[in-house]
Symmetry: D2
Subunit: 270 residues, 4 copies
């Protein structure tokens, strides 16, 4: 028994999934189901835009996914939490508005706070994110801010009362892995909050490494959704996250520079 506690909620899976970029919704549902995830995130923008368009003409509706998820929960015998995100917000004001809409639409206090004025690398804005987080906490949200792997920003957000930190490993969608590794380690050592590595993870080995370093969870989106076989890849990530977590708990050996051999090196053959 090794639950992940975020705010007042407990999760048994440490793998969070995104919902963008899948080829189709049934593929996404199947990936979500087999990944064992209990938290999926979705851009409020996307939910909202579908609603305003009324979406009648699209065969597969994104919002359908939510009611259908009940079936999924039944099948999987576990709840799947929907964590809306504010992706697309360019400043604190837009993000707060998005969060409030999301709370109404989805009846959840969780909000993944993403503010990226930069349309190129989608990197988060530390100043706007900090100010938005402050306000959202005051408004009763459980805030999970997407941030650069900046230990001081993480510490300040902790002081403000966010529910978890979501530092990036590399640019979103880049599959580059833990390019911010040293800084992630400092964040993990320095905070009491859950740390969920959020962007850049491109392969199960990256996810396992994040967990071995002591991260509490990882969020995977592009690496699963754009795989040639998203369902198989989802299972691969499930296993990798479990592997990394178990290794963290079991305790990894020290790294040496000089091999000592795995067998006693007394003389051979007498």
């Amino acid at each position: 028994h090794d639950p992940l506690t975020i705010g007042s909620s407990e999760f048994h899976s440490r793998l969070l999934l995104g919902t963008g970029k899948y080829g189709n919704l049934s593929q996404m549902q199947r990936a979500i189901e087999l990944s064992g995830t209990e938290m999926v995130t979705m851009a409020l923008r996307r939910i909202e835009s579908h609603e305003s368009q009324d979406g009648q003409n699209q065969q597969e509706q994104l919002l359908d996914f939510i009611p259908r998820s009940k079936q999924l929960e039944n099948a999987a015998c576990r709840p799947v939490h929907f964590m809306p995100n504010t992706s697309g917000a360019r400043n604190a004001k837009e993000a707060i508005l998005a969060a409030e809409l999301a709370r109404e639409l989805l009846s959840t206090n969780f909000i993944k706070l993403e503010i990226h004025p930069d349309p190129w690398h989608l990197m988060p804005d530390p100043v706007e994110t900090f100010h938005a987080a402050e306000k959202l906490v005051q408004k009763g949200f459980q805030v999970l801010p997407y941030i650069h792997a900046d230990p001081v920003l993480g510490k300040r957000l902790e002081d403000v009362g966010v529910a978890a930190l979501m530092p990036l490993g590399a640019p979103i969608g880049s599959n580059l892995g833990l390019r911010s590794r040293d800084f992630l380690e400092i964040i993990i050592q320095g905070t009491k909050l859950p740390v969920i590595v959020d962007a850049g993870i491109g392969s199960p080995s990256d996810a396992a490494l994040a967990m071995e370093l002591g991260a509490d969870g990882v969020l995977i989106s592009t690496a699963i959704a754009t795989s040639a076989d998203p369902v198989k890849m989802a299972v691969a990530f499930k296993k990798a996250v479990e592997a990394g977590r178990m290794a963290f708990l079991a305790g990894l050996g020290l790294k040496g520079q000089i091999g000592e051999g795995s067998s006693p090196l007394t003389d051979f053959l007498g």
Copy 2:
């Protein structure tokens, strides 16, 4: 169904285990059982020295491990192959002698060929290994040579008729991971033989990475045996190897330098 074929044998697990450095034999047995491994390696030197000492005064006999392994196989409902190694041999002559003794003692044609005159880093000798491999193949062995991650040596050993290549990731027992990564990739691309990464793997994420690069298996020894909880660590490696293999089969995404985001970036709340 995705078997690993080495010589004329088929395996369902791609995780090979060493037998050195465990705190005690029951821990080792349990780790072997839960890891799902079907191949364990053991220094002939150790088997042999126990025999010559008659070993009566030791409570836990290494050779006991072999008959007891039958129980283990019964429990695990799968065979566990014992692959003797020539660890401790300093040249081709010693290695060949060790291989022949091993074949008699263990009734197996498999031999993990290790020749390391260097007592410090236990790195393999390419010249002696090549010459020993040539002779052992002629003598009907299925040879799995432990080598530096040297693509040309790998190619020449393939020409000679070895059963698999076992290049190192880093010095034995160092837990440093895939420090030879670029060269492992070249080996994997260039050979038709199974490639089993042999030394240096320190964590499940390393093992997953090896599999993602296309390795056919990994051999883990120190990283499991010296963990504070070898049994949990064995399960972690099991999952990681499966994760890496599944990701390799599913197809990993390309790495970019520039994020594209996981959601369409049309205007927000517009």
Copy 3:
């Protein structure tokens, strides 16, 4: 002719030096002289504390260093700019106060803005740094903020009107090199400001790499000051910065995965 322009000033050296941690002042002066640097930074705190103590009882006064620097300039036939820094400031208010004191004491508009509430890794606070930079620019300072390698923060500081960006490579004093490499590259690509890599550079090869990536300069402190031979190390960094800059200007070759050889591979001795 390849000057580095920061604000309204032109420099011929791209190597900036710190003044802390030297064994003694004459060693520091000699290192400064032979490094060819034209910009040295000094904690206002240190200047100030020496003044308030009147410093009579210390043989080597830090403030002596400033008048003596005139001799140094004469010897070196070039001016050395003193760039005060606000190291030790824990928030914007303290930093602004320090900057104003520094301007009075040293008659310079340059201020290296450092705000690090964290006494452990001395990492910069993005929110306080942003707000202090805004105010200091309004007060007519040429602000060089020390920041995490955060591209969005860099962009926002550019919009505010700072004179250069000083992102970190690794924690101050760690000698770990460019652990933020990917993010430094994004900063360099995205800004029109000079980028001076500020912390973590531990060796000349790190400095050369920063310049090859397109950084406009590097600031070196610990790696020179704590070397067994700071003067020789200062010259080593001088050469490395020049080497990296020349390579950047000459244009580095593409990295391949597959060798093509440096000689035509027609048949041999045919």
Copy 4:
């Protein structure tokens, strides 16, 4: 005074240059001159093929380069040694033949031994290289074998009596840098021979790093010859090699994981 001694010769430069891939010979000559190199290597195959063709119809003759090098030596006030290499040889026999031809043509005992049966990555063959080195040493050559970064092979070649080791950093022509870094460090620590890193170095920072690790020299070919400005790049490498060597001699600081700051962290403005 810090000479590099190879066999019975002393060199003041630690930068060796190749001669392939240059756009034209005058560019090559100028690069050689300004690099300060005292050792250049050239494929015997190329020398030989030009001779057999009589080469009258080519405006710029490769062999012209040799007599012209006398002018170069006069201009540079230092001798430039020509070190023929056996590039293109696929086995020991071809390499030995090439070495003997080279000795006759160029009146030098130095031979850079390269045997690469693999036309793809041009990686060296350890077995053939070992056997050829043995014979060439017996024949009175000063042998500099190009090898994989294999510490045991290096040790065995040292026992045989070669003059220096030339391990690779990465595949020839790849510009990938020191991908074999850990193994280069083991080689350097374990041998009394000069170690000259031979292939893969793509930038001055790579060269500086090799020297900082304790390499005695580097050989650069593709990275200079294929630069848009080979002459400037040659100077960049000259400075980088000097920087790395000076840093090695001065003593690099330890790498930490936790910053200690470059200024005393007593209270600020207190």
